[in-house]
Amino acid sequence: MKHLIRNALVCTIVGCIATAALGGEAVQIRLKDGSRWRGEISDYVELKILQQGIEVVFQGRMVAAAAYHVTIDGDMAGETRRKTIFKADIVAIRTIESETMAETESSTARDRTSSGRRSADSGDAGAHQPGVFVLPMSGTVGVKFRHEEVETIAKHADQYGEGQIIVLLMDSHGGGIEMETIHATIMEAKKRHRVVAWIKTAISAAAASALACDEIYFMTEGTLGAMTGYSGTTAMQGKELEAWLKTAGKWMEGGDRSPYIAHAMIHAPRMLSYDKDPETGEVTWYNDLSGEFVLSDDKSNLVFTSSTALRCGFSDGTADTEDDLANLLHLPQWHEIDDYGRKIAARWHKTVDRAQVEIPRTLARLSYYKEGAGDPIVAIGAKIQLYKELKDWHDACPNVAKMRIPWTKDEIDRTIADLRKELADLKKAQRGGGRY
């Protein structure tokens, strides 16, 4: 997914650059009925587009075209605005004369025509456009999915001034209680920046981490929930459970969400339903089944999908691509200020991946030296080297080391000291011609 998103981004950027450089570039759009429209960038067009099942006619000047969307400058709600339209939503498109467009513009808002042109012609707008920082957060919480990267990206964003947008791209099935630290780190970052979660998968501890964000967006396939805490084969009970219900409930409330949602995600007997005012859209939550829409009964755990989260207002919107998300974030277009977040995440993931392969390998190597094969001096020397490698993993990747290495750093140090002594004794014995 990551590389797809990156590819899409590259395409978008390339598309933007190409658009800026090549005014009048040929564009071809295929419609659902198989017909094609051919025209050029800067053509004036009339489009019929489907918006939530309703056909809308829209006129404007095409300023950009990419693989999946076109960008049109046109009149919207009395103002000249730039609109991104997905090709899949276009029902019909035709080229119109610029005069027709000008007439329309002048008849609706004569004094805005020039500003519309200015907007369309300003190809260097991207230089100062608002953008985002993206931090992919995937893998096991507490292993790959950590608070350190959140802290680092927030500090990096600080360099650009307060109020930056940080998108946490979450794809995790959960993990350990590191979530509490992650939650606290996000809360801290939120004091300076707008931190939003974009959910592909956020289950268990990952869901709990996401709750720190005021804005939560889902991908169509996004899921979030199942926050039951457990150890071994037993779920949290008694005081532990009550404490977790209270904490998670507080986190929910912190994001202006009902604590009942957290409860239904933690303990199966906790129920959840809601009513939605058809006029205002206001949602009232119930911790029983009395609401019109039931999300969780007394035997189920709650996991939101994109539509269930959107309907009740838990999700702030559904976005499958960066362009979709840019729209929801009210950005003119998707623009990543830099790829620092992606880089630090990739670097850390690479370290974890190496640790997960190299630690078992090193332990296995140790085991065959223990079997006593080969020259004992060589074997002891090799063992010392292997223990040193394990000790290094405690520094380089403590999360994985803790899980996979059966000894602490101190214990390793002591073992190394023993081996050195053994080695020295052997060498001494050999020099002295003694037996060992």
Binding site: R30, E55, T201, E221, K299, F304, T305, T308, R361, G374
Partner: protein
Amino acid sequence: MKSPPAAWLRIAFVAVVVALLAPSSGLARDDGDVSTEDILHMVDGRELHGRILTETKTQIVFEIIDLKLHMKSRRTFRLDEIAHIERGVVVDDKAQDEALSSKKKNDPATTSERTSFGRARPAGDAPNLPGLYLIPMKGQMGTDIHPSIYEKVAEDIRLHDPDVIIIKLDSKDYEDSFAAALGDVDLAELSRPDFDEYKDLVNIFRDDLRDIRQVMWVQDSIGISSTVALAWDELYMTPSARLGGMRAVFALTGADQWSDDDIRAKMMAAWMGSAKSLLEYGGYGLELADAMVDPTYKLSASFKGREVVWSLNDLGEFLVDDDDENTVDFSAKAAEDLAISDGTVETLDDLAFLLGYREYRVIEGKGEQLVENYTEQWRRSFENSKKWLQDYFQHQRWATGDETLKWLGRAKRDLENIIKAMERYKAVEIRWRTDLGKTKLEMEIEVEKIKEQIRALKQQDRGRGGGGRGMGRGGTGRR
């Protein structure tokens, strides 16, 4: 796509045409509605002739009657797809007769015209016809059907820029047979419950290629493939196709095996969420996933016009499943009746017709070949790797005495071959893990152990004064 031999194609076409002509020749006249028709003017410019069967505030069920082709088909249209409707328009009898006569002229039974471009002969150059790109999704979910190969297919799709992608899904955990009912199921060939990979697979099409119209054409789907199928809103089935068979999902994931009620609820909700997330793409009721995956649910349907409202109980107007020990499966007919499927079609011509293409061309992309080659190659590689394992055991046994080094070397090579196969095909690695309980890392460690044995033996040889092989050295063999 491979073309069937011309003779067979002709015979098949004649059979279809004969079958179609027989009931249809009196269709318009015998229905008592001969002289009028309804015309739908679609927003995309199409003009469809036929009859409105039912109508709600949001949808119209319309029987399209094509006089030229003497075909009729039923389609459901949203009102926002229709620009305007003409009702009770008088049909010109002369035009009907002309159409009939034109149809006879074009009939391949009497002419030898090429008919592989759809129901009607192409009027212009073939490249201008709508291009259909067919992709097979066939075999085991998680190995044969794996995102790695469809990423390559997606590249080829982009290259050919088709008008429609048609995915032919044929994946079944078990056959529709008496033997299967008695439990004759190959457990190794069951769907792999890796929803993350299926999300990636769906992303390739539904996100990355979303500007291209896509159709899921289910040939048969028993297992997790059914949730994948439901990621497409345009879904058609062949008459013999099944959709369902997901009873094993919880067993495969182990979600329902937890004894603690809370953990079990958590795990089941998490897995169910993954299954439902795929249905979100297709816009189907999420209750369908509940009933298709969790045997404890019942399922009934109520109808608001053509819209189906699902209930996980037996209180709906139409009871789909009142068994709380089995999951819900759908036949092609049931799926169509319950508006899960948009239609039941046997042939590509029929499907294209229902999609609104009387004429079309099949794009000769690499997709089909890529998928076929991949499946054939990884499976061959997997079979080879199992032989290499046997070779490894044998060579290890032979690694004694003077030939220890020689056979240890061979044994090492056997394992390295297996590792290479795993690296080349993710499917091989998956099947080694699930069928044989061995991971790539374990194999790599095993190779290292052998290397260390070889190193130690060589060192031992050197320590003995570099004596040549076969000099009476004994007892140095391992195992």
